[in-house]
């Protein structure tokens, strides 16, 4: 698995904070580590985006360094990892213990979505805000498409933080960072005035976000209060993307990209400890505002533009307010309690625009300003029983009121009970049961419409959850842990509606390790999770028919049963061949997912797969298998000098009915191969020499 390459390197890097050899520089006690080597891969960039999704695996030099130093109360640290690579990072931090701290950092993160994407647009225009089709391209012949590029985003963050906190009444903190993100991302839009046509565009990304925060705190005795201010400004150098439609006569429409915004937030936090009943009270409040002003376009450049009121600009204006009050207490020696209340409100005061009716949408259209508020409160209690057993129980209520015509209110009532035991030194166990009852306004009808489907996020439901865990160390150096979870949602079984009716998830995860000190350590893990989603739908497009009515010709219901089964398992072996001199580590892991959808229903009188007829089961659905084999050895030549060699074999297979047989130009579509390169097989390795002084 491509993601594990960093895991191979990580232990080397993480050790940078360990203190080994030391030397003096003036008054400073210093520990320094420098590593240099090379990484190689036969499956470097170009093979699969998934292989290199977050990791720079190019054949290249590999370097890292760290310095930690102390003199008296002062400390200083510097870490540089994967120097020069696309996923490099640098951190310099220091300060004086108990007085002040500062940190200066730079971090580069990249995310690769696809390699070798193919587009019909002029390569010279890819990455710009205006895409044209060269005359040499025949849009229906992908072999004439000339643009080749990768979909990759690179996010670079650099900033500085500083804080002053002596534990005396006042504390201060300041921070600033800038995040720059650039690259290309696939953007899917319609290509013409029909629902069957779409085109994938290389969306140019050139974002910049400046974040500033400041806080001041005051603490005296058992009372601490803190005021925090945050400013964040997001800008996008490419607010629009104009593209030549590959469909004749459709002109050059415009896609509107991420809008700029300004965000600020003020937050206050107040903590009072050691109150009567051994209690702590926390009160918090925040207010934030998100705004922007955008030129309101009159059209999206289409050949048949609608009528847009000449309002000049759109003023985005969203405000959030939150409040929280929590009280945790120990009224009895064996009893702990918590009572809490949370409030959140979102106001949307943005510009509202009414677009006159037209041939395609025959009623005037006004953008809805979505706002909501949440009241959330609850109580928890735990009681210590004999034999280190704790019995806990709680209740929580959540009410959400939305400015949304189809689903105004939902009310959640949740109760839970849990039992924990840690009486035996060698074992701990826990089990928890939770029941949630949600009632929602959204049940088939809302003003102006009668519908027979549910929206899964706001519909009434009952949820049952069970979690259990058991950790045991029966003998010294042997540890075993097991965790089980079960969750079931039943969506209002009393009302027959189309949509999701039930879903369940069962998961069990375990790990075990055994160590014979100075000889070996072996570890294994295994996990299995099965998720099933049941949905009621129709075989044809008959969602306006009351599902409570019996099936009729051409209007048959269909039950859809989606299942996903995931496995993970692995073995690891660490052998100190020569203690503190030569270590060998071996590992093997597999991650597998097997999904599918079975259908039941449809009009048997119609052809299988035809509209209204029985559906065709899907057997390959998110099917993937990832295998990782790794070997690592480290040899300590001297107290200061060591070398590490690492080898990894990775293979991933992927099959899904929606991606298998991918073509760039299916009927009415002009695609680029985005997200389609998920299979790979690769050998990777690195060799690093490390010197500590």
């Amino acid at each position: 698995m491509k993601t594990l390459k960093i895991l191979m390197v990580a232990p080397l890097l993480l050790q940078s904070s360990l203190v080994f050899a030391e030397y003096k520089l003036g008054n400073w006690d210093l520990t320094t580590k420098v590593g240099f080597g090379a990484q190689l891969s036969n499956g470097a960039e170009g093979q699969s985006a998934k292989f290199a999704e977050y990791s720079d695996v190019r054949d290249s030099a590999l370097g890292y360094a760290s310095i930690t130093g102390e003199v008296g109360a002062y400390h200083l640290g510097f870490d540089a990892s994967r120097i020069g690579l696309k996923d490099q990072s640098y951190v310099l931090d220091g300060g004086s213990y108990g007085t002040f701290n500062y940190s200066v950092y730079y971090n580069s993160l990249f995310h690769k979505f696809s390699v070798g994407a193919v587009s019909l647009y002029d390569p010279a225009t890819v990455g710009t805000g205006s895409l044209t089709i060269p005359s040499t391209v025949t849009v229906a012949s992908p072999e004439t498409w000339g643009a080749r590029y990768d979909y990759t985003l690179t996010k670079k963050t650099y900033g500085v933080d500083a804080s002053y906190d002596t534990g005396a009444p006042y504390s201060f903190g300041l921070g600033f960072n800038q995040v720059k993100e650039d690259g290309l991302r696939p953007l899917g839009v319609t290509s013409r005035a029909a629902s069957t046509g779409g085109v994938t565009l290389p969306e140019p990304i050139d974002y910049k976000t400046n974040n500033f925060n400041a806080n001041v705190g005051y603490k005296i005795g058992d009372w601490a209060t803190n005021l925090n201010a945050m400013l964040s400004k997001f800008t996008n150098a490419n607010p629009t993307l104009q593209y030549a439609s590959p469909v004749a006569g459709q002109g050059s429409p415009i896609a509107y990209l991420a809008p700029k915004n300004d965000y600020y937030k003020l937050a206050w936090q107040n903590v009072i400890m050691s109150l009567p009943l051994n209690s702590t009270v926390i009160a918090k409040a925040s207010y934030s505002k998100l705004s922007n002003t955008l030129d309101m376009p009159r059209s999206v450049g289409e050949t048949t533009p609608g009528t847009t009121p000449d309002i000049g600009s759109f003023d985005g204006n969203i405000k959030y307010a939150t409040a929280n009050l929590s009280w945790a207490a120990n009224p009895l020696d064996k009893l702990d309690t918590k009572v809490y209340y949370n409030f959140l409100r979102k106001w949307n005061r943005s510009t509202q625009i009414t677009f006159p009716a037209g041939p395609s949408i025959t009623s005037p259209v006004t953008n809805a300003l979505f706002g909501y508020y949440k009241h959330n409160g609850g109580v928890d209690a735990g009681y210590k029983l004999p034999l280190s057993t704790r019995l806990g129980a709680g209740y929580e209520h959540l009410k959400i009121h939305r400015d949304r015509k189809d689903a105004v209110n939902t009310r959640d009532n949740m109760v839970y009970a849990e039992l924990r035991n840690s009486h035996f030194d060698i074992a701990q166990m826990k089990v928890k049961y939770q029941h949630l009852a949600r009632t929602g306004d959204f049940e088939g009808t809302f003003p102006g419409a009668t519908v027979y489907y549910r929206s899964v996020d706001v519909t009434s439901k009952k949820q049952n959850k069970v979690t259990a865990g058991f950790d045991v160390a029966p003998i010294e150096h042997l540890d075993l842990g097991i965790e089980y979870s079960y969750s079931k949602n039943q969506y209002n079984p009393t009302q027959r509606l189309y949509g999701r009716t039930k879903d369940t998830v069962n998961g069990i995860f375990t790990d075990i390790s055994y160590e014979m000190p100075k000889l070996f350590k072996v570890a294994a893990f295994a996990g299995y999770e099965k998720g099933v989603i049941d949905t009621l739908r129709t075989a044809g497009n008959n969602m306006t028919k009351d599902p409570a009515l019996p099936d009729t010709t051409n209007a048959f219901k269909v039950n859809l049963y989606e299942n996903n089964r995931g496995w993970e398992y692995g073995l690891g072996l660490d052998i100190p061949v020569i203690e503190k001199k030569w270590d060998v580590s071996l590992g093997w892991e597999q991650y597998r997912n097997d999904g599918g959808i079975n259908f039941n229903g449809g009009d048997p009188a119609l052809a299988v797969g035809s509209s209204g007829g029985p559906r065709v089961d899907i057997s390959n659905f998110n099917d993937s298998l990832t295998t990782v084999v790794r070997a690592k050895t480290k040899y300590q030549f001297t107290e200061n000098l060591s070398a590490t060699a690492n080898y990894m074999y990775e293979r991933q297979t992927y099959s899904d009915f929606g991606w298998d047989g991918y073509v760039l130009n299916p009927s009415g579509m002009f695609m680029t191969g985005e997200y389609s390169d998920n299979e790979y097989k690769a050998h990777t390795g690195y060799l690093v020499a490390e010197y500590r002084f």
Partner: protein, 306 residues
């Protein structure tokens, strides 16, 4: 090297400035005599302590003991009793002290830290997680490594390794970037008032404000996404188009149940199903600032296709 000359020079200057800054000891050194008493039996622990996590730091609080006893309490009885565990304050699973007693010992110095101010209200305290459950008091430990959390949160460990995941195991996103393990008043101990405010910190392009909002998106990112990892692309809770159909059952002729015939290899391929499904065209699903077009709804921001 991609960091750029300007930034590298800045880091170098800061590094050198840091060395120039510290010139004298501001507090007492370790009480070697007291430490040596413990070293007779606990050589490795003392060696690690002197060089490890609390090297110097423990003394900045003005503790006068400057030794192992700063945390473990007086050791005379322990020595006299031949090292029995019940005569000394211990940490971890094998401690004779309760979780509360262990944590209290740590909080006697660390309670002033803002990040632990809400420890009393957090889930970890309630669930008998002690400071030593995660932290190593002797040996320096990378607290950003996800394995610290995975040892208990095994389900999250499995999610983080799924086909689609945030770069957690790659070390580019740490658990503590989103969660405060020391306690918050928010659900899931996240570092924000709600999920969206947390996600928008990194995904500022999704903030809006938009002319056309998608209400479930604005209310809770988790309506469609699993933050730790998913078998579905883009961290989705379910594969499109079936995820979209969970709400949009009757729109856009979607009442037709899409099946195996609708993939690339099927007898009736459709862009509602193959590849990214609905997202093939409705890519602006997080919100759009394009105008509505009542003459041609397929060219309209209202339907998140622009």
């Amino acid at each position: 090297m991609n960091i750029g000359k300007g930034k590298s020079r800045f880091l170098l200057v800061m590094l050198l400035a840091g060395f120039a800054f510290g010139t004298s000891s501001a507090f007492a050194a370790i009480d070697q005599g007291a430490v040596d008493k413990c070293k007779a039996c606990h050589e490795d622990e003392v060696t690690n302590f002197v060089k490890g996590t609390h090297h110097g730091k423990v003394f900045a609080a003005g503790d006068k003991q400057n030794s192992c006893e700063s945390c473990h309490g007086p050791g005379e009885k322990h020595i006299a009793a031949g090292g029995s565990k019940d005569t000394i304050i211990g940490f971890g699973k094998k401690s004779e002290q309760s979780v509360e007693e262990q944590s209290k010992q740590c909080l006697s110095c660390h309670a002033k830290n803002k990040s632990v101010a809400m420890w009393d209200i957090g889930k970890h305290k309630k669930n008998d997680v002690s400071c030593a459950s995660c932290h190593s008091t002797h040996v320096e430990k990378d607290m950003k490594a996800p394995e610290n959390c995975f040892s208990c949160h095994k389900d999250v460990k499995a999610q983080a390794k799924r086909f689609s995941h945030h770069p957690i195991i790659e070390g580019k996103v740490s658990c503590s970037d989103c969660h405060n393990p020391h306690g918050t008043t928010s659900h899931g101990m996240i570092k924000a008032e709600n999920n969206n405010q947390l996600c928008y910190k990194c995904h500022a392009d999704k903030r809006g404000p938009f002319v056309w909002e998608h209400a479930p998106v604005e209310e809770n990112c988790n309506n469609c996404h699993v933050p730790h990892g998913s078998q579905n692309m883009k961290l989705l809770t379910r594969r499109a188009p079936y995820l979209c159909n969970d709400c949009h059952s009757a729109n856009h002729s979607a009442g037709t149940t899409l099946d195996a015939t609708n993939g690339f290899k099927g007898t009736a391929p459709t862009n509602k199903t193959f590849a990214r499904g609905c997202i093939n065209c409705h890519n602006k699903i997080h919100g759009s600032v394009a105008p509505a077009n009542t003459n041609d709804k397929y060219m309209s921001g209202q339907y998140f296709v622009r």
